[in-house]
Symmetry: C2
Subunit: 202 residues, 2 copies
């Protein structure tokens, strides 16, 4: 793809500037959500004017999509596919919770945007619907593989356990951001998984 072609100096500078703008937008959207964030706020964080931002991204909505795309790319690098790994994939969810505790801005971005995007007219609505459907399929597969390997306790149903685990992780993030969570997210997720797995996680 074109991403792997060599870039001349000008293209490289353009890429760096785009990355800088996406960084700034990510931070701003995380703090205030999409609707309440202005292009001028984002531009100031990136050290330019707001028409400068619009030179690189044609609309505010295109910038939002670039932010979401960036996060997906990073996530894919960190956790490639993984549904077929069963129990190991579930352990990976607990590790993801631990990782999230070092990524306050990203957690805030997703908590705020996913709630904002439940409205059907939100520009990121379709993105989040697709993301939840894909995540649900992956986690359901992980539970199914774990069950078929004899790793789940009796009565744990993949079709119930999967939306439960996703909901637990989403809900913990709100309490964690609010500062009212009395334990670490990773600990609570691991405890939850340990009520379902035959062999406890560390």
């Amino acid at each position: 793809m074109s991403d792997s072609a060599p870039l001349d100096g000008r293209q490289q500078r353009g890429r760096d500037t785009r990355a800088l703008i996406v960084d700034a937008a990510m931070a701003q959207f995380a703090e205030s959500g999409y609707r309440a964030s202005s292009l001028r706020d984002i531009a100031a964080r990136a050290g330019m004017t707001h028409p400068g931002v619009l030179y690189h991204f044609p609309t505010k909505e295109a910038l939002l999509m670039a932010v979401l795309q960036r996060r997906d790319d990073e996530g894919k690098k960190r956790h490639p596919v993984l549904g077929h790994l069963g129990r190991e994939a579930l352990a990976g969810m607990a590790r993801a919770a631990a990782h999230n505790e070092t990524q306050g801005a990203m957690v805030e971005l997703y908590a705020v945007l996913s709630a904002e995007a439940t409205g059907r007219d939100h520009p990121a609505h379709d993105y989040f619907v697709a993301r939840y459907e894909s995540l649900l399929a992956t986690v359901t597969e992980a539970y199914t593989v774990a069950r078929d390997a004899g790793g789940l306790r009796d009565g744990v149903e993949p079709d119930v356990a999967a939306p439960q685990l996703i909901a637990l992780m989403d809900g913990l993030q709100v309490q964690w951001l609010m500062g009212t969570l009395p334990r670490s997210m990773a600990r609570i997720v691991a405890d939850h998984l340990n009520t379902q797995l035959v062999e406890p996680l560390p």
Copy 2:
């Protein structure tokens, strides 16, 4: 208190109008969150102009507080205290999930506002922190009472189970609003509680 004193015609009309405005604001905040909702949107829903709204509520922030206050009052009528009831209180959480499935606008209001209000500068931040702390204390007490009555399975710790249950219910609401939840919220909550209780819920 002054609420129980008789009202003359003018005061009664004022109360009705205030209630009408709070209804409109609740619907608008639920659809778009607090920051993205304008007083003109709310006023139009209530059949008046936006200075008309500001005649009854001095600022947009005061109107937000009235919306949250109203919801608390209704919640207190529906579920008085309840922490000391132990197992019955936990069953009440499953019933609350069922009730929420008939209250889309209210669920959306809380999902959007609670995410928005994780930011320390949001006008409803302190309200939500207090609400989560109070809810956590109530649910922890319910689990503790249930355990002391021998109603909890081994290994279920009130201090872990309480933030877990709250997170589960919050997270389910996002998936439900997104339209990607493959089962009812009430069913998933009941299944979760049934992994913790000695005697299963209906």
